[in-house]
């Protein structure tokens, strides 16, 4: 199923050392690769080359990286993954609100970066435009949206309507971070965006029903200060076969 040519990644980053290892990593993964060291150049290259994905550092020498997202989003929905530092949750949320697809906090391990890139590309892929696969599997969990049936290890679990919708939204953005505001809007409606503690309570309930150990969730992961991420690309837990299932389930 490996596509013959991997997409072009535009890296907008000014630090030569970071660029160096990104270049090595992406080359090793067969991605095509192009660099821009300033925001100005980054926007120009994004327009000229129409890359499959943009990897954007928020700390650029000429302009705020957030302005790059704003400009690209005026004319393109190309996936944008942001590189940011830990502790700058505000910047992360701002980037996501402006339309970035995901972020990786520096310092990051390469595996994490590649997982984010894969998730972002998958979301942008043609087969998943509507974001509603009928059957999704991750870990012990199987979600059949046709039958509205969720099973964990073959056992059916009952979800309340809100829990079900929450899971649906998380699966729609599988692998990507979803901000609290976005989840609240999509599950409860735009007038409930401030009630993030509801959201936390529902996530906790969902974890109890779906996760083996809710205090050490494999899939329903918290992005502190930002939101949640449904991790189905489970590279750490070793259930790679299931994650393949997910990426293919749209075709079946």
């Amino acid at each position: 199923m490996k596509p013959p040519m991997k997409p072009l990644v535009l890296v907008i980053e000014d630090d030569p050392q970071i660029l160096r290892f990104l270049r090595a990593t992406l080359a090793a993964e067969d991605y095509q690769f192009h660099e821009a060291a300033t925001a100005e150049e980054g926007v120009a290259q994004a327009a000229a080359r129409q890359p499959g994905l943009v990897l954007l550092d928020l700390g650029l020498p000429d302009r705020d990286g957030l302005s790059v997202i704003r400009e690209i989003r005026r004319w393109s929905q190309m996936p944008i993954v942001v590189l940011s530092a830990r502790g700058q949750e505000k910047d992360k949320i701002a980037a996501l609100d402006l339309g970035a697809d995901d972020y990786v906090a520096k310092p990051f391990a390469v595996g994490e970066l590649l997982a984010r890139i894969r998730a972002a590309l998958r979301r942008a892929g043609p087969q998943n435009q509507d974001g509603t696969d009928r059957v999704i599997r991750f870990g012990d969990v199987q979600a059949d949206f046709e039958k509205r049936q969720i099973t964990v290890g073959g056992q059916e679990v009952h979800l309340t309507p809100n829990e079900y919708r929450l899971l649906q939204v998380l699966i729609k953005y599988a692998g990507r971070v979803v901000t609290q505001r976005q989840l609240l809007t999509e599950v409860w409606g735009p007038q409930h965006t401030e009630q993030s503690q509801y959201l936390r309570v529902y996530v906790a309930q969902l974890r109890r029903k779906l996760e083996r150990d809710p205090a050490r969730p494999r899939h329903l992961q918290t992005e502190p200060g930002v939101g949640y991420r449904l991790s189905i690309d489970a590279t750490q837990s070793g259930d790679v076969s299931q994650s393949r299932d997910v990426s293919q389930s749209g075709d079946t």
Binding site: R86, G87, E89, P107, A109, S196, Q197, R200, V201, V203, A204, R207, R208, D213, P214, A215, R216, P217, Q221, T222, P224, G225, Q236
Partner: protein, 519 residues
Amino acid sequence: MTSPAELPGTDEAAVDPAEPQPRRHGAPASLREGGLAAAIVGIATLIALGLRPYLAPTNLAMVYLLGVVVVATRYSRRASVMASLLSVAFFDFFCVPPYFTLGVSDSEYLITFAGMLVVALVISAQTARIRAQAANAVERESRTQALYRLSRRLSAQTRVFDAALAAAEVAEEVFGSTVIIFLPEEGRISFRKRTSNQLPISTAEEEIAQTVFDHGRKAGRGMERFPHAAATYVPLKGASRIVGVMAILPGSKGEELQADQQHLLDLFANQTALAIERTLSQNAADDARLQMETEEMRSSLLSAVSHDLRTPLASITGAATTLRSQGEKLAPGVRDELLESISEEALRLSRLVGNLLDMTRLESGMELRRDLYPLEEIVGVALQRLEPQLAGREVAVSLPEDLPLVNVDELLLGQVLVNLIENAAKYSPSGSAIEIAAEATSGVVQLEVRDRGRGFAALEEDRLFEKFYRGKSEGVRGAGLGLAICRAIVVAHRGTIEALQRAGGGAVFRIRLPLGARP
């Protein structure tokens, strides 16, 4: 009524036409007293005239002496001396034949006059002295009271300006006039640094205050130098230097301070000066101590940080250069080890920098971003962050399902947990389990992180949370910041954190957070 006391009186106004009130009011007072004394002698004369047909003239002298006693107990010594002289004269004039002349028919009466005069003068003198003593005692008493009040007010002040303010306030009460204390700013008396908001003196007087400050001698109103100034300026002379200037304005009636009040003023100024000086040196000592502590902290921070930054950097540099120069010759296992140490050490550096940043932010008074969170979620995030360090480690988490939400800053409490769990992993054998448990009791959530390590030395419990304190275990490195940050964060949440010896070996770190009202 004519009296010798009428003598001066008008020259004052001539000296200072701008001043409606005479500066010394001794003249009108003695004029009035003189008049009254004369009136009393007059009354004595009327009584003596009434008694004259019945009594011998020598006995009539007693009536006059009675009058002198009345004058002496009420009025000044001058008035009673005047009354004494007047009495002898009137006695001679009205009571000793031939009447209505100062001549005397019987020279025997000269002895009566002499005796009468001596007795009257002695009465005057003694009465005056007794009165002066009584007045003195009262004066001393009130002065002592005033000084006591001043010293009490002053001793309560820890800031120079507050001390000056208190002194000015007490002085105003005692002297019944406006008192302002000016403090110097870099050696200059500044009218801006003063104890009173209203400034009844023009800033033009600043120069006089400055002169007083420079030379340490009183000047201004009623003084030799600058007698036309609006206020009297008194230097506040401490033991080693002059710390300010006190300005006393004339009272509401424009009266000057009496000599004894001048004396009291000096005592006042002296006490105030000593208090200000003491406060100044106390502040200087505090500053010096703070400075020293800061320096000490900075140097221990520097040594801790430089050590902890250099160690992983050394490992990284070593491993990387080894790989570069001998990469081909190394066995694959060795290369993997070197690579692993590079990434581990880099992570360690990253955590250290994160902790340093957190500490700095906490110490600069960062605001908490609190909201209600399930504890489970915060524990989960911490365990997720520590995944590499906990690989293969058993972590037993026991959180009751009905645990209430906690009102915390999620990132900061998460950092506390990361530090505690990381510590537990660091200080206990790699095969032993780490336990995380929580329970809620009346209004408090208690969270514990337990390990089966060697625990810590007795009496070490409190020191553990100090900045840059390192546990006694060998072979474990750290900046000694982790637990200090934990405490800072927990305290910011109004909670407590303590280290306990665990029954059966190991350590327990217990956090208690108040559940508080829901927002």
